[in-house]
């Protein structure tokens, strides 16, 4: 190890020289002005750092600064957002004016899988969003930070639940059964994003405040390096880290939130309900109570929340660090619902051995606690003439309740009596080693990334004996607890060779990745309680028990490589190849190969483009093609397996209950879903970079679709088997435009907009099927589906009857022989679309689909002196919603459906349609869900002249301030079927950020 010793002595020598040179100089004052090199305008809030220390200052409103240089310091580093940083050495002068150039912006770098690339050199469709562009307001899960910000990326929060789940679609859905969510890679660790009991959204463990950038890899040339997990796009999250040599900085960010319900449910008021009963079911009048209860009001509330984040970041020579702690507590507008999160984040990076060895350590931990509500549930239709409480009804906790199991339960009783909580602790950590081996081969380095992701927690529900449960489930009080442990470990090892030979730039990466996923789900149910004293803390009061455990494991082993080759930064080539091995497939299909190739041409670098250079500041054409995969299916579906029955599914032989074994259906030939995609894009900028844009066209064709299909009886062990069948195509265009609309000394205005069009179509399901597969279960009846997967149609097309309309455009009422054929049947109200003379299932037609044709977002950021105002508008066009709340509750007989036991309130639509019975399959309930929403608007003020490096910003944000839509339900953003979701709220956030 002589070499190490050499290095050590060299290092010591270096430090010695530094020390000597520094002792030559003494402490002195310095001041000056920082201006724009071109316009001469002062730069407000520019950072000035004394190199080698953690102290510095920022410029005031006139761009002036003043500070004291400690003994031994000579260099200043001046930085300003959007300008190239500059390092200047202070001579003997006491006034030093410095000019920064906007044109000399440092090469922007974007992260891609297993590496990074200069933005100008990127060949794929890659969009990076950094923290200053993130969405503001009430945000629990990090994906909401980029809602509406990236063309072709649809982030939908499908309910208003605090911390509730989101669905993310990048360029439409490529799959039916194998999942459509993108892969999340956090600091190099691909994470398991499956839901867990007791948590609302697995992504909630990341504090949005700790995130530095989001990078969305959209096309196959970018995602193919993630092979079998790249088909739905990849989102790479990089968390904030400390920078070597940077001054230490303490930042506090805190906010307080109030949220309110926006709309009431569209159900009848007490008075209207009484009138309706009188009209429809006069014989039931004696069932009416004397109270007037607004059940929706009884179960909802204005909610509050708070958010506190404290971070400390800094650096020393060769060392950077960041420590953060955060707390967020957010109530939901349905009573008792709540989510809480406490996070810690650590980053430590260190350059050793003459900067040949870089070590970067990230550690994140989050403790989340959730309290779950019972949903709006029965509050929609519970008889408004009944009281909330009935003190005489002690058996049911003093709540008003019906004595029959079929009757709905008092909605307030569930909210007040059932204690349903969840908690989880998740920690994600990784340590990266980068070792530069220039000594051996110039440009060669090795990287090792070791990571882990551990997540465990539980859901616990306590239902006391006083809850009206026994009539429904024959369990007199119950304790249910569901635990989970998920762990994953990762090892990535790869070599990188990066070197330029004249005009040739070469960047080669090749490596190996191993990731193992384990999960365990033990649970128990204890019921028939002797008392309610202990809640979930003791099962001793229980007399009956059921328990289960389930353990799963899967592993992914990969080899990957990438070559980036550039000629004169004019012609850029990228080729990637990944070979993935997964335990989810049988030995014959275990290994898959995922290649991609891309080419980019920076046209302005061409001689012939001289003329264009006056107009454009950037012009790049990109073409990429690649194959990616999807393997998000359960484990061992390829293997003949036996599952055992539980204690409740045994069978009697003689006097012994036998635990049975069942051979499960399987497809030995199961393999990856493969998506071949083509991307053609154009990056452009003009007005010296003041306007820029990206235009992309893509076509994605997914083959060997993993699909659960009906198989011929006798060919397998169940009616349906997960197998590779079918094809789906997504095709679309995306446009992003950015503009610096105004850029004057006091007033700045940045605008950024994006719009994306996507067309999805099922090309094949199997050779014979043209009928399609019904899906989209609704509330109302059992087994009723309103959507279909059919060849030639978009996935999840609605599948409904065409309702005949009367002269006023209203749907014909049921129960009348409109066509005078002597019988009352479906033909009276629905169109005989196939003309066979009768109306039955064959007359249903695929109509519209839940996915939008267009999604768009507009972000505006303005600043005037210390004030800033920003907002994000977002919307979609052509997305349809089946109004299930209306179809399930909007018919007159609903009042009296079980009138012998109880009365139901009805949806207001019943007063319009006058339907007597439910018309679940009427296209009347299909509505255009196009919308425009003001997601957030923020007004802030920066106090810049507080002295030193102190800065303070106060702000107010309003979330969900308005929603423009023709949809008649509460909110069209529900994922296609509007079925009693958690209502969204309007929130107001007040906060401040203090930096010291």
């Amino acid at each position: 190890m002589k070499l190490n010793f050499d290095m050590l002595t060299k290092g010591l020598l270096f430090v010695g020289i530094l020390l000597m040179s520094q002792t030559l100089l003494a402490q002195r004052d310095i001041s000056g002005q920082i201006t724009d090199a071109e316009t001469g305008e002062p730069l407000i809030g520019a950072n000035i750092l004394i190199v080698g220390t953690s102290t510095g200052t920022i410029t005031d409103f006139d761009g002036n600064y003043a500070m004291t240089l400690p003994e031994g310091t000579t260099d200043l580093e001046v930085s300003y957002t959007g300008y190239a940083s500059k390092r200047v050495t202070v001579g003997s002068e006491s006034v030093l004016n410095i000019q920064l150039s906007a044109g000399e912006v440092l090469d922007e770098v974007v992260v891609i899988g297993y590496g990074s690339v200069k933005k100008d050199d990127a060949t794929g469709s890659v969009n990076a969003i950094s923290d200053e562009d993130f969405n503001k307001g009430v945000i629990v899960s990090p994906d909401q930070l980029i809602t509406g910000k990236v063309a072709g990326v649809q982030v939908s929060k499908n309910s208003g639940e605090p911390g509730g789940g989101t669905s993310i679609r990048i360029r439409g859905g490529t799959s039916i059964n194998a999942g459509n969510e993108p892969l999340f890679v956090i600091d190099g660790v691909p994470i398991d994003n499956n839901g867990n009991p007791g948590t609302r959204n697995p992504l909630n463990f990341i504090n949005p405040n700790d995130i530095a950038t989001f990078t969305v890899l959209k096309d196959a040339s970018a995602t193919a390096i993630y092979g079998s997990r790249g088909a739905n796009g990849v989102i790479i999250i990089t968390t904030k880290r400390g920078k070597a040599g940077s001054p230490s900085r303490l930042t506090y960010d805190g906010s307080y939130t109030t949220s309110n319900i926006i709309d009431d449910l569209p159900i009848l008021s007490t008075e209207a309900f009484r009138n309706l009963v009188t009209f429809v079911a006069p014989e039931r009048l004696e069932r009416l109570g004397s109270a007037s209860t607004n059940w929706f009001d009884e179960v909802t509330r204005p909610a509050t929340g708070q958010n506190h984040n404290l971070s400390f970041t800094g650096g020393a020579e060769n060392i950077g660090y960041r420590v953060s702690v955060g707390y967020q507590g957010l109530e939901g507008v349905i009573k008792t619902s709540k989510t809480e999160r406490t996070t810690i984040g650590l980053n430590y990076n260190h350059s050793l051995l003459d900067e040949t060895l870089n070590i970067n350590i990230n550690l994140k931990g989050a403790f989340t606690k959730d309290r779950f509500d019972q949903g709006l549930g029965a509050s929609w239709y519970f008889d408004p003439t009944q009281p909330v409480y009935d003190p005489s009804n002690t058996a049911f906790g003093g709540f008003f309740e019906y004595g029959v199991g079929l009757a709905p339960r008092n909605p307030v009783s569930g909210i007040e009596q059932i204690d349903a909580t969840g908690r989880s602790f998740r920690t994600l950590g990784n340590i990266e080693f980068e070792y530069k081996m220039d000594e051996l081969i110039q440009g060669l380095s090795a990287k090792l990334n070791l990571g882990y992701d551990a997540n465990n927690g539980r859901a616990a529900t306590f239902t006391p004996t006083t809850y009206r449960n026994k009539l429904v489930s024959d369990r007199d009080g119950e304790i249910y607890m569901e635990n989970f442990t998920r762990t994953s470990s990762l090892l990535d090892a790869y070599l990188n060779y990066k070197r330029s030979f004249g005009v040739h730039d070469l960047d080669i990466t090749a490596g190996y990745s191993y990731q193992d996923f384990d999960a365990e789900f033990p649970q128990f149910l204890a019921y028939d309680l002797s008392n309610d004293i202990f809640g979930t803390n003791s099962t001793n009061p229980a007399s009956e028990f059921e328990a289960s455990n389930f353990v799963v494991q899967n592993r992914l082993i990969s080899f990957f490589g990438r070559i980036n080759y550039g000629i004169n930064s004019k012609y850029l080539f990228t080729a990637t190849l990944r070979r993935d091995g997964s335990t989810r497939f049988g030995p014959e299909n275990r290994w898959g190969l995922f290649p991609s190739a891309a080419f980019a041409w920076r046209i302005l670098e061409e001689d012939f483009a001289d003329g264009l250079r006056g107009v454009f500041s950037d012009l790049k054409l990109r073409v990429g093609y690649g194959i990616t995969g999807n393997q998000e299916i359960g484990d061992f579906n390829y293997l003949p397996r036996y599952s055992l029955s539980d204690a409740q599914a045994r069978y009697l032989f003689g006097n012994q209950y036998i635990t049975t074994v069942r051979p499960d259906a399987y497809d030995a030939g199961l393999k990856w879903e493969e998506t071949a995609s083509l991307n053609v894009g154009l990056d452009f900028g003009f007005g010296n970079g003041r306007f820029s844009g990206i235009l992309d066209y893509y076509n994605k064709r997914t083959n060997d679709l993993l699909f659960t299909v009906n198989v011929p009886a006798g060919t397998n062990l169940s009616d349906r088997v997960l197998t590779n069948i079918g094809e789906v195509e997504n095709e679309g265009v995306e446009l992003t435009l950015n503009a610096i609309a105004v850029d004057s000394r006091d007033f700045k205005w940045d605008l950024s907009g994006n719009i994306a069009y996507n067309r999805n179509q099922i090309l094949a399901i199997d050779q014979t099927s043209d009928a399609g597969i019904l899906t989209g279960g609704i509330a109302g009846g059992v087994g009723n589906n309103v959507q279909i997967l059919r060849v030639g149609q978009p996935a999840y097309s609605f599948f409904l009857f065409e309702h005949k309309l009367d002269a006023n455009g209203l749907p014909l009422v049921d129960g009348i022989d409109h066509n005078d054929d002597g019988t009352i049947n479906l033909a009276d109200i629905y169109e005989d679309t196939n003309g066979d003379g009768m109306v039955n299932d064959l007359d249903k037609r695929p109509i519209e689909k839940p996915a939008p044709d267009f999604i768009f977002g507009l972000t505006s950021a303005m600043s005037y002196k210390g004030f800033d105002l920003s907002f994000t508008l977002r919307g979609s066009l052509g997305n349809y919603v089946y109004n299930n709340s209306s179809s399930d509750g909007g018919y007159l007989n609903r009042v009296n459906e079980r009138g012998d036991i109880f009365l139901n309130n009805v949806h207001e639509s019943a007063l319009v349609t006058r339907f007597n019975g439910p018309q679940y399959f009427s296209d009347y309930y299909l509505e255009d869900g196009s919308f425009l929403r003001l997601d957030n608007i923020t007004l802030g003020y920066n106090f810049n002249n507080l002295g030193g490096r102190t800065n303070l910003r106060v702000y107010a944000t309003a979330n969900n301030l308005f929603l423009l839509t023709n949809y008649t339900g509460l909110d069209p953003e529900v994922g296609g079927i509007d079925n009693n979701p958690y209502p969204r709220s309007r929130s107001l956030v007040f906060g401040l950020t203090l930096g010291l």
Binding site: S643, L652, P712, D719
Partner: protein
């Protein structure tokens, strides 16, 4: 050298990490190699072939479903078999609005009907389970696993029972659907889609198959409760032969007489003293049961099966406590056509007339209104002593699939239809045994002259209503579609005749698409 060594180490470390082991084994499920090391697994597997009649998945009452084309609670074998045998007839109507459910009584089901799908896939799930059992218990497999002689002895009977269960489901298959896909253990998993066999082909297979296993199956009355014995096999033979004319065009009444005679003459079975006790939680001890599907409130739970049969008929002013349940489901009632077969609306004359009339109307104005039509109190979750079952959700009573009363009636019918080997006097005697039990004395007895086919059909309704026989009986008597009218048949209040093609159900649309070898039944 040092440099080489150092970087060599780095690269070696890289190479060392490159593990490529992808051979993981499932943890909470297992493979045949592991499972059958324990010889009791054969018994556990056989129990699963049986339990396909009772449960819907490997978790009770629902979970890890066997078939997934529809709601798991709907996918229960007995529930759907019962619904097609009863809801399509004069014996039952149901109030609920689940898609396609009303079509059963209306006689307007299509090949997209989810209940058609349910019974179809259930039948073939059973066939596939039995086939897989037979594949796993071949001599070669048992040899290779070194199975002990004692277990091999048991397995011989197990195999006969698996074949019996396969035959039972194939019988349901040809009875409900006519020409059906046919496959045996010879067709391995993943092989080509099976061909469609004619009703007659399958009938002939069943005829020879049942004879082939007769000697291997445990002797009548000698098997454990819950498992099929030789008498169950005779009952299945009797069912096949009695309906042979429907299935093949050729009658086999003499064979039907012979089969029922074997059951009756075995001397093992006798009539339950009190008719009502046949359908209560302690019916497992009844001397009349020949083959039953056992249910248990704690150990054999489902949302179909007995759970359905004890909850769905309860509603209106009926107090759930009286029936050992936590709440009625306000679903099933009967039509006046069944009521009118009895001498009175109460059980004061005929003990079998278990109608619940309080708050109910005899005639039905609206099927969806539970108060329209008399309710029926038959399957209950209480014992003959009035004690409630072990669980108020899931019932303890077992479903009597084959019982002696049915054997008596089949004997009489087969003789009446000209079957040799029996005589009318004996037949009348059997019928009068049933009627004496019902009337409590001989006031309901009939004379030989009273015994005709119309009487048999009516008596079968009186004795066996709601026991999943009615549709098959009506078809045998040509009263199901073109003839025979009862309230709301064909979706009109007074009832109407319907098209003859509805004597068969359609093969589900999903199956027609999946298996190109199949052709749809005429009319659909």
């Amino acid at each position: 050298m040092n440099k080489l060594f150092k970087y060599g180490m780095v690269l070696a470390l890289f190479a060392a990490t490159a593990c490529t082991d992808l051979d993981l084994s499932p943890k909470s499920t297992t493979t045949a190699d592991v499972l059958f090391q324990d010889e009791s697994a054969y018994r556990a597997f056989l129990a699963r072939v049986y339990s396909g009649l009772a449960v819907t998945g490997q978790a009770g009452p629902a979970g890890a479903a066997d078939i997934s084309s529809l709601d798991e609670g709907f996918s229960n074998y007995l529930r759907q078999y019962w619904q097609f045998q009863e809801l399509t007839t004069d014996e039952a109507v149901i109030a609920w609005g689940d898609e396609g459910l009303g079509d059963l009584h209306n006689h307007n089901w299509t090949d997209a009907n989810q209940f058609v799908r349910a019974i179809y896939y259930r039948i073939f799930f059973q066939v596939s389970m039995a086939n897989e059992f037979l594949r796993e218990t071949t001599e070669e497999k048992l040899d290779s696993r070194g199975v002990s002689d004692a277990t091999r002895g048991d397995i011989q009977a197990y195999r006969a029972e698996a074949r019996f269960l396969r035959a039972l489901s194939y019988w349901h298959g040809i009875d409900l659907l006519g020409n059906i896909p046919f496959y045996t253990e010879e067709q391995a998993i993943g092989s080509d889609a099976p061909r469609q066999a004619t009703r007659e082909e399958v009938f002939n297979f069943l005829d020879s198959e049942l004879q082939a296993i007769e000697s291997d199956i445990v002797a009548a009355g000698q098997n454990e409760y819950g498992r099929a014995d030789r008498a169950a096999l005779w009952m299945l033979q009797a069912k096949l032969y009695l309906n042979a004319e429907v299935y093949t065009g050729t009658d086999r009444y003499s064979d039907a007489v012979a089969a029922t005679k074997k059951v009756i003459d075995s001397g093992i079975y006798s009539l339950e003293e009190d008719y009502d006790n046949l359908f209560l939680t302690d019916n497992d001890s009844s001397p009349e049961l020949i083959f039953a599907i056992p249910f248990d409130g704690e150990s054999t739970q489902t949302w179909g099966g007995m759970t359905y049969l004890i909850h769905a008929p309860v509603g209106g002013s009926m107090d759930p406590v009286d029936y050992g349940i936590n709440g009625g489901w306000f679903g099933l009632r009967t039509t006046s056509a069944l009521v009118d077969l009895f001498p009175s609306e109460s059980d004061d004359i005929d003990d079998r007339a278990n109608f619940y009339t309080d708050g109910q109307t005899k005639e039905i104005n609206s099927i969806s209104n539970f108060a329209d039509g008399y309710a029926i109190v038959k399957f209950q979750n209480v014992s003959s002593e009035g004690e409630p079952g072990s669980d108020l959700d899931h019932g303890d009573a077992d479903f009597p699939m084959f019982r002696l009363g049915d054997a008596y009636l089949m004997y009489a019918e087969a003789v009446l239809r000209g079957g040799s080997g029996g005589d009318l006097a004996t037949a009348v005697g059997y019928i009068n045994e049933l009627r004496q039990r019902a009337y409590g004395d001989n006031t309901g007895n009939i004379a030989q002259a009273d015994l005709d086919l119309d009487f048999i059909l009516d008596e079968r309704a009186r004795e066996l209503y709601w026991e999943a026989h009615r549709r098959t009986d009506l078809i045998r008597f040509n009263q199901f579609t073109e003839n025979g009218v009862w309230p709301w048949k064909g979706n009109v209040k007074e009832g109407r005749t319907t098209e003859a093609f509805r004597n068969l159900l359609p093969i589900p649309a999903s199956e027609i698409l999946a298996n190109p070898n199949l052709s749809q039944n005429q009319g659909y």
